[in-house]
Subunit: 438 residues, 2 copies
């Protein structure tokens, strides 16, 4: 099976666990059998591989997510990076040509496209396989998955099928409606359009060549910025007559707010947290290393990260965005392809960071113009390269780097550093990368 | 006026802002005219000095509070340090002999004793002056302040006066009663015994010599540990017949739980915090440098420090102690005589600390057996002494210290360091102090 997972933009609705860098799909909230936690991305990927160990998975995403994806899924997964945001039609075309031109998928092999972030169970992945098989038959150009509505949502577009059969021709598409309209659609047997569909690459690439002048993936990538912003629904789906919808009645939930996210959590506490017996319907998600104690609360979510602390009535939690937009704040933690970092102290002319590198990984070779840096190794072994000079390092070693000096660190084992940045203008933008020959 | 402020032990009822080192009276929660915040100790001291700029204030306290007192009140204030805990009679005798033998107060000059932590207003300090004047007259041995009860509390002992006059002889003392008994006492005109009283040192020292064999302050201090634990009420107050009570009807509140403390706060937010319009009776006290956002909460206190985060219904907040006792946690922040420190990162074999020294202050000259340390200066100027070798330091300097090496730092300006402690056994107990000759 070929799958394109659409991994959408960052958001602040799950602040402080999501931020400008970390989208909600990377928050680790689902407990594994071994007691560790996995994110929506990891959960989705694991389920796909469980159903079909040979599945070719490509994640269509923006540049900012590549580090997190590599950190959470490893280097094996295919990533189709959008050079910039150009809506779903260009993104799906880019990912499809990535599949055929880079991953060498046969243009007649079916592809399933689905968003990475709904909360689903095993039956969903079986439905994806059915969808892929339907597309493989070749008697339709597009097969959509239509979710049986559980309430008259205003958030989704609706698909009106011709029949109530499992597989039906599509009679009509409806834009996101009002609640009253949604009720009316549902009484007519309408299904939610969740943006899940299957097709043969050949079909989508033909549509693409009608609208875009390009030769192959590499050519498309290079002119991506000049493409028109247009949705796949508008450019393709709504104009297609050879189109069917496959009905799906299993669990399919958007975990876009704290209210819905906590409903999907198996436990009430993730991280260091406790509550007394007088709490009901309380969830604690704590990514800080200090304890949280909740007493006598009801219907409340408490969520803490180095970015901040949210304490919210669950219903009200969907209204946090304008508040969070007002926090003038830099990102205090992030996953990188080589590991992760966390800001632990902000001074008037300094910033102190806990930097953790995974074994075998290394930072980019880089320099800063306006700050000096000091590394104190607190755990592990590896080596540094400072202005071309290589040096083995271990816990206890101190490395000082003046502004302008080129530096990197390579982890042999898991390697933890305390990095102290010193300067009057400390900015994430003050970073210059260089090629590095090992 | 001579005042002995009893500054009692640490407590966890105001966790996470109070801990094993910081007692509630040192939490800065009262807003000053200049926008900064002051603690109960600072507020009490400021009010006393406002009423009587020449007041001699002595704080009777334990060793653990000396640094905080010096940090918050400066070096001028008298401190009578109890070498260990021996209940109120030995503590008051020690402080009284400190007044006469160290501060050279005339044994016939009246002294007022009062706890440092009730929340009071200007009229209270006027009442203290009246109390002192009454004691000065010499026609009674003890004059107590009796607070007019606002509810039938089980927390206080009660004083039954002979009359309803402002000054009355004491008819009887009653131990902490049940609510029903308290109601009965109040109907008889009883007053709360808040542990506020005045006397002439000569009187208390005579009583002391009857029970304890000692010559002066220094002798008493040296044998303090051998003294019997006995309360001042039991040893003196309840046996005295020449005793009066002065009625007080002003504000006098114990701020011992989050519920009562937040009632005394003028603002609903201290530190970095925001709440939406759907919050009511919510207080945020944030000593961390990340924002707190509260949404749709009612009757809740949110309190955060490097020790942890409390989110509690206000009524329930009085029951936190057993939970907090269960947190196996070291103290993550503290005031010292020279400034303050805050743990910012805990690793497997390391601990990273933000150390801030006040201008002109310095640490003890000390060493550690089982850890190396690295200092990175992030702000200010000063000097270090490492194994006797003196060196000027400024922002950007890095100082490495192996285990066993003696070191100190002296601040010329405000001086901020990031201290990285490195070792397999990092403990606050691993500290050896040495004399240091400048």
């Amino acid at each position: 099976m070929n799958i394109i997972l659409l991994s959408g933009g960052s958001g602040k609705r799950l602040w402080p666990l999501s931020n400008d860098i970390r989208s909600k799909q990377f928050i680790k909230i689902f407990k594994n059998e071994d007691g560790s936690y996995e994110s929506m991305v990891q959960r989705m990927y694991r389920h796909i591989k469980k159903l079909d160990a040979d599945a070719k998975v490509t994640i269509a995403t923006s540049k900012t997510q590549v580090s997190s994806i590599n950190n959470q899924l490893g280097d094996e997964v295919g990533i189709s990076v959008e050079p910039c945001r150009r809506d779903t039609f260009p993104a799906i075309v880019l990912a499809t040509s990535y599949l055929t031109d880079v991953m060498k998928v046969d243009p007649n092999d079916p592809v399933v496209v689905c968003p990475v972030d709904p909360f689903v169970e095993d039956d969903y992945f079986e439905a994806l396989r059915d969808l892929s098989n339907q597309a493989d038959k070749g008697d339709t150009n597009l097969v959509l998955l239509g979710m049986e509505p559980t309430y008259p949502s205003e958030k989704y577009g609706y698909i009106i099928p011709e029949s109530a059969e499992k597989l039906s021709n599509v009679k009509e598409f409806k834009e996101k409606p009002t609640v009253d309209m949604a009720k009316e659609f549902i009484s007519q047997g309408a299904l939610w359009n969740g943006g899940v569909f299957a097709y043969k690459p050949k079909y989508v690439l033909e549509k693409a060549h009608e609208l875009i002048d390009f030769t192959d993936y590499y050519d498309l990538f290079s002119k991506y910025e000049s493409l028109e912003k247009i949705s796949f629904d508008y450019a393709v789906v709504e104009k297609e007559s050879l189109i069917r919808v496959q009905r799906f009645s299993g669990k399919w939930k958007d975990l876009g707010t704290w209210n819905t996210l906590t409903e999907a959590m198996e436990e009430s506490v993730i991280g260091n947290g406790q509550m007394n017996d007088n709490c009901s319907n309380v969830h604690i998600l704590n990514e800080m290393n200090v304890p949280i104690l909740a007493m006598g609360l009801h219907d409340v979510v408490i969520s803490a990260s180095p970015d901040g602390i949210l304490v919210s009535d669950k219903e009200q939690s969907s209204y946090i965005k304008p508040f969070v937009d007002n926090f003038e704040q830099q990102v205090m933690f992030a996953e990188k392809s080589w590991g992760e970092y966390k800001v632990i102290d902000v001074g008037n002319h300094s910033m102190t960071i806990n930097v953790s590198l995974n074994p075998g990984h290394r930072m980019n070779y880089h320099s800063h113009e306006k700050r000096d840096e000091v590394w104190v190794v607190t755990e592990g072994r590896g080596k540094t390269v400072i202005d071309g000079f290589e040096q083995n390092i271990k816990a206890g070693d101190v490395i000082t780097m003046d502004a302008g000096c080129r530096h990197t660190v390579i982890a042999d084992t898991k390697l933890v550093l305390i990095e102290i940045q010193l300067g009057d203008e400390i900015s994430a933008l003050d970073k210059y990368k260089y090629d590095f020959i090992d």
